[in-house]
Amino acid sequence: MTTVSPLHYLIVSAVLLVIGTLGVLLRRNIVVILMSIELILNAVNINLVAFSHLHRQVNGQAFVLFVMAVAVAEAAVGLGILIALFRNRGTVLADEMDLLKW
């Protein structure tokens, strides 16, 4: 049985980063875009925990707590703005947000 090395964690987090970025750029539904942003931040968290374990110190884990708090705050503000928008426009699709162009 092979052991799990830090490199494996890095690969997982890199994959999550790519999926998250593609999600932000390609998906239409804004709720899904917000979820993709969470994926990016979770990629960061996996990285930090893996490195924290590698270096045998807790700084990285402390960083994770801050990233989690920020992720929650971002989701809260994002959904709040989305609700305000939905009340005015009745849509959560990104390609129908076309009032502001050029």
């Binding site: 490195f51 705050a73 005015n88 947000m97």
Partner: protein
């Protein structure tokens, strides 16, 4: 690791953000406690200006302490915060921008029927975040600072809730801004991985040790550079900027264009010219491409705009391009050029946006073109409001970089630095875009001075929604722009002081 302690130095470093946060909370409480809406409004404005006075005092205390400190820098909190010339320079500009925001916001929010005290509280929270962006020398503190200010800005952009453009702008800003923060955080996590520490001094050593061909260093530097270029709206990461600028309430637009960008450049200086300086071969090409692209897209798109705020969004993208060129000139001249440009950029843009706020007049909220939004609304302004028009012309001259004003100085130092470090091609390209910018800024002058107002419009363009605060803001910024152009000595000395102190 030293046991946690809290001493006088830490207190000095933390005093301004503590004051900002306390005043933000106090303003929200005040709103609940005050008897009538009218007294709440007045109380909020008075209280926020009082808060800014206290913050100014605490920054003055820091300045006094720094002048006696060895190396013009005071580290605090076991080296996660620093008070130095760069942090004070940035905080001073952010403070000024916040004061202008507070002065201009009252009339604007009244016209929009959205005068709520959270606006002022959020302005304080944003300033609090930017304080940490300017002074943090630790990855965690830096990230938290970036996010605190960004979250406050997302809400401020969407502050006029009933306005669809404002909603949409806030959402676009939030989605792209959050993705950019994610990239920055990812880069930080990799930096932590290669150095085993969150302190920038340790990170710097690790980056030097690994060299600039190491894949982890490349990954970290590229993600951080991309994330931060989003924040300062460099092309091709600028797509949020025109929308957010256009949809946001104009005082907030001014604050994003100035304070947020100034703080973003402070982080770029601290990271790219400080701890990641040895990774120059990685980030220099990214910045060069972004700078030239920003100049091109900013200048060409500004030519085609007919909405004023969009026009200034693209113009500020072009200005970001000039500032980025300063990073490419690897010399003290370049660093000084960046600081001088940032300072003058802040003045010119605050003035220009204060002028735009004064153009705003009551109109229906659902109307797409509220009077005062279009370049055509400037028509014939010189006849009716000669003084305001003249001050705006001073600012436009400065924005385009003509000699008697400060804008010339800003571009001059960047160009000199580029030529002295052998970046002749870049200097020539940048100079060519100065010519383009002359054309599009003079379009506004032409509207104000040479074109007659269309008879049908005359009644709509009549009164300027000016208030004492707006007049004060416009007068101060235009006056300083002219003064610095004529007597640049103090600003140059300030720039020398700051470049001596960047760790």
């Amino acid at each position: 690791m030293a046991p946690f302690s809290y001493n006088a130095t830490d207190h000095l470093a933390l005093l301004p953000p503590i004051l900002m946060a306390l005043f933000a909370c106090a303003i929200m409480l005040l709103d609940v406690l005050s008897p009538s809406a009218e007294s709440s409004r007045r109380g909020t404005v008075f209280f926020s200006l009082l808060g800014m006075t206290f913050v100014a005092y605490s920054l003055a205390l820091q300045i006094r302490a720094v002048t006696h400190a060895p190396g013009f820098a005071i580290p605090a909190f076991q080296g996660s915060l620093i008070i130095d010339a760069l942090s004070l320079f940035t905080n001073g500009l952010v403070w000024f921008s916040t004061v202008i925001l507070l002065l201009c916001a009252y009339r604007y929010l009244e016209i929009a029927h959205e005068h709520r005290s959270e606006f002022y509280a959020l302005a304080f929270f944003a300033e609090c975040g930017m304080y940490f962006m300017a002074g943090a020398v630790d990855l965690i503190a830096l990230f938290v600072g970036l996010e605190t200010s960004a979250l406050a800005f997302y809400i401020l952009v969407g502050f006029t809730r009933a306005n669809r453009q404002s909603n949409e702008a806030a959402l676009k800003y939030l989605l792209l801004g959050a993705m950019a923060s994610g990239f920055v955080a990812y880069g930080f996590s990799v930096l932590y991985g290669i150095s085993g520490s969150t302190q920038l001094s340790e990170v710097s050593k690790a980056v030097v040790r690994r060299g600039s061909a190491d894949p982890f260093v490349i990954l970290a530097v590229v993600t951080i550079a991309v994330g931060l270029l989003f924040k300062i709206a460099g092309v091709p990461f600028h797509t949020w900027a025109p929308d957010a600028y256009d949809g946001a309430p104009t005082p907030v637009t001014a604050h994003i264009a100035v304070a947020s960008k100034v703080a973003g450049f402070a982080v770029l200086i601290r990271l790219l010219l400080g701890s990641l300086a040895s990774a120059r071969p990685i980030w220099a090409p990214i910045l060069a491409v972004t700078a030239v692209a920003s100049l091109t897209v900013g200048s060409i798109a500004a030519l085609t705009q007919d909405r004023l705020k969009r026009f200034f969004a693209y113009s500020s993208i072009a200005h970001a391009g000039y500032i980025l060129l300063g990073f490419l000139a690897d010399s003290d001249d370049g660093r000084r050029g960046i600081l001088i440009y940032v300072f003058i950029y802040a003045l010119m843009n605050l003035g220009a946006f204060a002028f735009l706020i004064s153009l705003r007049r009551p109109g229906s909220a659902a109307d797409r073109h509220t009077p005062g939004d279009l370049i055509g609304d400037l028509r014939g302004l010189s006849k009716r409001h000669p003084l305001q028009a003249a001050l705006f012309v001073v600012l436009l001259l400065s924005l385009s970089g003509l000699p008697p004003t400060a804008g010339f100085l800003a571009k001059y130092f960047i160009f000199i630095a580029l030529i002295n470090t052998g970046h002749i091609t870049l200097a020539v390209i940048a100079a060519a875009y100065v010519a383009v910018s002359l054309y599009f800024y003079f379009r506004l002058v032409r509207e104000m001075y040479l074109l007659e107002p269309r008879p049908a419009e005359q009644h709509t363009v009549e009164p300027l929604a000016s208030s004492l605060g707006i007049r004060l803001a416009l007068g101060t910024t235009a006056g300083l722009t002219l003064l610095i152009g004529l007597y640049p000595e103090p600003l140059l000395r300030l720039a020398f002081l700051v470049t001596g102190g960047v760790p």
